[in-house]
Symmetry: C4
Subunit: 218 residues, 4 copies
């Protein structure tokens, strides 16, 4: 059996377990950050779970690299994969392969192109918002002069940042918080730009279908 088909088989078998693992990772991180009153033991459990899962992600990356037979070029041709190994919080962004894997089993008809782009970019933005809010909240909490006092504040700040509204009633003040925030701005701009563009072209397409007399939403 050649490397390529083994790589495809590996992907098909690991996609769903790895996605579940990435959600567990996110949950463990959220528990570690938000459950401030929790005994120290459980914080150690959360961190251990995160470390163990990260090892699993790294092993998966190594196996794929090996199976691809591409050498160093693998790092750039699988850029999203490389990013999510370094920053496992972003791993749920790999929701598309999961969606594909689920669909292939269920055999249901796929969504239209616009619906797929909107739902992928929309879900990615939501996950980016919650993960980013957690990370910024961890950096800001307790900093002198911080305006972000609760996780609710952090989520509200993330919403106003990702949509580029940027009220400025709550802003990160620590260097770490600002670095993460800058990453979120760029990611939000790109992902929501894709949502907006797709919605706009879907609307245009719907309105141009004159003959069949079917306005949107009927």
């Amino acid at each position: 059996m050649d490397d390529d088909s083994r790589a495809v088989r590996w992907t098909q078998r690991t996609e769903i377990p790895l996605f579940v693992a990435s959600l567990v990772f996110l949950a463990a991180y959220a528990t570690h950050v938000l459950a401030t009153g929790m005994p120290a033991f459980w914080h150690v459990v959360c961190l251990s779970v995160m470390f163990a899962l990260w090892l699993v992600f790294a092993a998966d990356y190594a196996v794929r690299w090996r199976l691809s037979g591409q050498g160093l070029r693998f790092v750039t041709t699988h850029l999203l994969h490389t990013v999510v190994v370094v920053l496992p919080l972003l791993r749920p962004l790999r929701i598309v392969p999961l969606y594909d894997a689920v669909q292939r089993k269920a055999g249901e008809p796929r969504l239209t192109l616009h619906a797929r782009v909107i739902s992928y970019a929309g879900l990615s933005t939501v996950l980016l918002g919650f993960s980013g809010a957690l990370a910024v909240y961890q950096a800001e909490r307790g900093a002198p002069g911080a305006t972000m006092r609760t996780y609710g504040d952090a989520v509200w700040w993330a919403a106003s940042t990702l949509t580029t509204v940027g009220y400025g009633d709550i802003t990160p003040v620590t260097p770490m918080g600002r670095v993460i925030a800058t990453g979120m701005m760029i990611g939000g701009l790109a992902l929501l730009g894709a949502v907006t563009g797709s919605f706009s072209s879907w609307l245009m397409q719907t309105f141009s279908r004159e003959g069949d007399e079917r306005p949107p939403g009927r």
Copy 2:
């Protein structure tokens, strides 16, 4: 007579009355929220009107579901319809079917594609702005530390939010207000993105018509 033609007939007959009903719903909600000095009796009248109209909307949704013969898939294939039953304040967004119904009676020539997209998305944004400003104002009014003191403030806040300018001189501080605000940001981003995109491609099209020497606005 088959189900499909009955569904079309139902739509043609109910579209205009239902649109008028949705404007009455919005007016009753606005009266309830803004007329603070009104006797309690009239508040009860407003809420009763809203509840009665909501029953009408729900009945219309049930009839259409029945006539469609689609079962549970109706919920996703008629997504806008489902949303406006849950959130009747957004019902005026269904302005397109109305426009179609009016046009079909009047027999007038339709607008161009760009003009239709711009006017639909623009009107939707205006309605979203006024409804959202009402809902956020109701949530914020009297909250400790609220910067949104009058309905005028709420409309000004809505304008700066929907255009993603986001001054931050007035911002919601209650959890409910922030949840509604986040919905408005996303809706505004998508709808105004469609307006901007259509305007931009209309401008491009106008400027590319070299031969007939007709600049825009002459």
Copy 3:
């Protein structure tokens, strides 16, 4: 001679004088607003000039309406024209017919499509910014709690508003100022969206010209 060719001749002869008149109107308004130390007599002169020019614009509109032979439909088919009669400050937006008229005389080669859209939308944005800043400054000046104290503040505010950055360090507080500001947000969003879209597609086009080895800006 038929009405149509008379309409074209009217346009060709009046375009340049009317554009100059619109700049004089803007200058008179700017003098009225900004020259606070000026004797009352000169304020009367400015207002008289503005009123006289407005009569000229109205007369031009009436003549065109007459020549078009369209009746009430003229109001919607010449929408930009109707807007600039009601709000003469926006008249310099009609820079395209002027550009055409000048070009036709000079016989020079025209700019490319992208360059024309960018320069038209860009110039319109700059004019909208300066006129809007003047109008908002006039409404805000001396209002209690106003953060906009000088015309420089107003221009800075206009720049951050039209680009949808919206810092919020300076914001209008009067109802009149906020109404004008909302109009500017919408206009800025549409015009700068056109600039951005054109620039983006120009960049894409430039980068896709592989064969001739000509990167942009060489």
Copy 4:
């Protein structure tokens, strides 16, 4: 040998040294602005290096103008070139010719169109952000009422400005700072609009490749 091939040869030979020179210029400016505790002698050295490099840039511009044989039209046909002679801080924006020159030597396969537009516009935005933050920081430093106190503040302000988020926690207050900031807003809007547009159309293209079952990031 004709002028055109001499112009091409000139470009090929000078591109890489000039790009290195522009990075040295940026480094000298950064040292001058940021190293406040440095002896006056080294400030003179920095300024001398900047002046010398500017002379080199001006000479290169003069040679190209001469070789082009275009006369005054050269100023508009090589607009980016003209801009970077006047504002040498922006010179690193000419990263594309460099990329081309390096590629031609290396003979490697080029990136796809979307990747090239995204990386060019993205890199340009990053350079614009750092240069602009330096220039605004120099203008703001020590101004009465300035909220921008460190270079870190300036970079954070630049990130929130270029993405049009615009929190407003830090804003320029001096006229010079505001003029530079307005230029950055416009540049950021155009460049990030190109990044967003390219990313969006790349995502759309990736999702539309149904047949080969290859979601992005696998």
